[in-house]
């Protein structure tokens, strides 16, 4: 009896035991037709412009010529990778990429933290706001203009050279000096990013319980003790996460600023993997070779990000995924 009733009920609601996944999907499609319509452009975007280039990466294992197309070009295995690893460039690019990251880890990373801590110690709210608004400003200047200013200021008759001469130094076209490239790159980066980078730490600072400070005063703590024992531990989780993520991108340096600042006489110290890919691939049209170099870099980056994320989850219980 119960079985019969069940069957009748099923029939009534249009559910059969055989109701397959496909018919469920079909029903969902009828019901949510608009949702599928909405998903269409987004899906198309991902398939064409995100997964399309991933398919295009197969040219790293082929001898690609535009005339033959991706499918028509012959496979060559790991030839391009071997060529890259054995080339004179490999060591140079690796060294520059890692050194620029190392310097930015040493100097650019702590700068906003220090600024946030110092801003936090300012007593006049209005002054603090002013400093914030002004230090955020360089973030809103386009990279091209920033690099244009660097070109101008470091030129032989530029203002920085004027100051160098004033201090007893010698004039030089600084962007032609290989040993000056990394300092210029890093210092200008700090100039542009210090204020903006401090926002996140200031937010973390504002989350610290004010009672902690009051209690510490009663315990006789001075400002230095407070910074060391309350403020810093308060923002430590934020610092750790950002640090780990920063380390996760140790093998990538954006090509844009490098390309705007370097020139053949500074390739020795300035050329990084991404700028090399640009030059080999787009200027010299070595598509397969540069795609292989790019793929090598992407894979290393992916591994580093996964490792950083894993480490972050272990160390701080927070992670990207």
């Amino acid at each position: 009896m119960t079985m019969e009733r069940q069957k009748m009920q099923n029939a009534k609601y249009g559910v059969s035991e055989k109701s397959s996944y496909r018919s469920m999907l079909a029903r969902d499609f009828r019901k949510n037709r608009l949702i599928y319509l909405m998903a269409l452009p987004v899906l198309a975007y991902y398939i064409i412009f995100q997964y399309g280039p991933m398919y295009g990466l197969t040219i790293a294992f082929k001898n690609f010529t535009p005339a033959k197309g991706i499918l028509g070009s012959p496979w060559v295995g790991f030839q391009w990778f071997q060529e890259f690893f054995n080339s004179y460039y490999f060591e140079r690019l690796l060294k520059n990429t890692l050194l620029i990251n190392l310097f930015s880890l040493l100097f650019s990373f702590p700068a906003p933290i220090i600024l946030a801590l110092l801003l936090n110690e300012l007593r006049k709210e209005k002054f603090k706001r002013t400093v914030q608004t002004i230090t955020y400003m360089p973030h809103f200047i386009s990279l091209v203009v920033i690099c244009g200013m660097i070109h101008d200021f470091t030129a032989r008759d530029g203002i920085i050279n004027d100051l160098v001469v004033l201090l007893g130094g010698k004039r030089s076209t600084m962007l032609l000096e290989p040993q000056l490239f990394k300092p210029i790159y890093i210092i200008s980066g700090i100039w542009q990013g210090i204020g903006w980078g401090s926002i996140i730490y200031l937010a973390a600072l504002s989350g610290i319980d004010p009672e902690l400070y009051q209690a510490s005063v009663i315990d006789g703590a001075n400002r230095w003790n407070q910074i060391w024992h309350i403020t810093l531990p308060g923002i430590l989780p934020t610092i750790v996460i950002l640090l780990i993520m920063r380390i996760g991108s140790m093998m990538s340096v954006g090509h844009e600023k490098i390309i705007l600042l370097y020139n053949p006489s500074t390739y020795e110290t300035a050329d990084v993997i991404s700028s090399f890919v640009y030059r080999k691939g787009l200027l010299e049209a070595n598509y397969s070779y540069s795609a292989a170099v790019g793929l090598f870099n992407s894979i290393i980056n992916l591994i580093l990000v996964i490792a950083a994320n894993w480490f972050s989850r272990k160390a701080t219980e927070t992670s990207l995924w």
Binding site: Y55, H151, D162, I199, I200
Partner: protein
Amino acid sequence: MKIKRSIGERTFDGINVIFMILLIIVTLYPLLYVAFASISSPSLLMQHRGILLVPLGFETGAYQAVFDNPMISRGYINTLFIVVVGTTVNIVMTSLGAYVLSRKDLYWKKVFMFLIVLTMFFGGGMIPTYLLVKQLHLTNTLWSLIIPNALSTYNMIIMRTSFMSIPASLEESARIDGAKDFTILFKIILPLSMPVISVMILFYGVGHWNAWFNAMIYLRNRDLYPLQLILREILIASSLDNMMTETAVVDREPVAQTVKYATIMVATLPILCVYPFLQKYFVKGVMIGALKG
């Protein structure tokens, strides 16, 4: 409550304030220098060495030259088109994607999410993307700067999180009233998400405004160049030429020099005038991103 401060603390405060003032000077001076130099007399500027505390003379010839340069106004128009159309496409695509992914009953949601998040950490990279855009015949059109960047996964995920925080009851009652998905998205969800949307508009907009690299690799026709690419020619390509041909004695064209400064001002001043008013949205954007991260 007034707590007596020790000498050590007062010294620290003093040094801190001095440091902040130095920081302000270091941040502002390069821009002030450019501003002063742009209205200085070109020949006086050439003879001058060291820092500028006031403009040397007053001449607006450089600005005249900038405004007379058809490439700059052309660049401004192209950039404006890219910013407006590009950002619109970005917002529409991002909200469509975010809406679909915020559906609780979406089929294969986990798979889609994985495939989407994956693109944040791995991609085809510069060369295959370039070849694809070329193959699609988008090169040498402004669409090459808009369509391949139609949406940012990161922003879409942030927007999705914001959509999911909207109470489901609002949507349900709208459905009872016969509203369809498009109505729900554009009449209910988007108006309720205005804070996030405004942050997204700013981020996408500024991204389009600053972009130059894709324009450099995709565009051949100079009439299509966005402002940043024109700036690159004026500020950087010319400087590289100078460097390469440079002998011991430098003779830079004095007028060209002030024109450069005026160009920087014309390209930067509009944003610098607006940003203090938009600052809080940007700061909010950083926070939203940080919460996600």
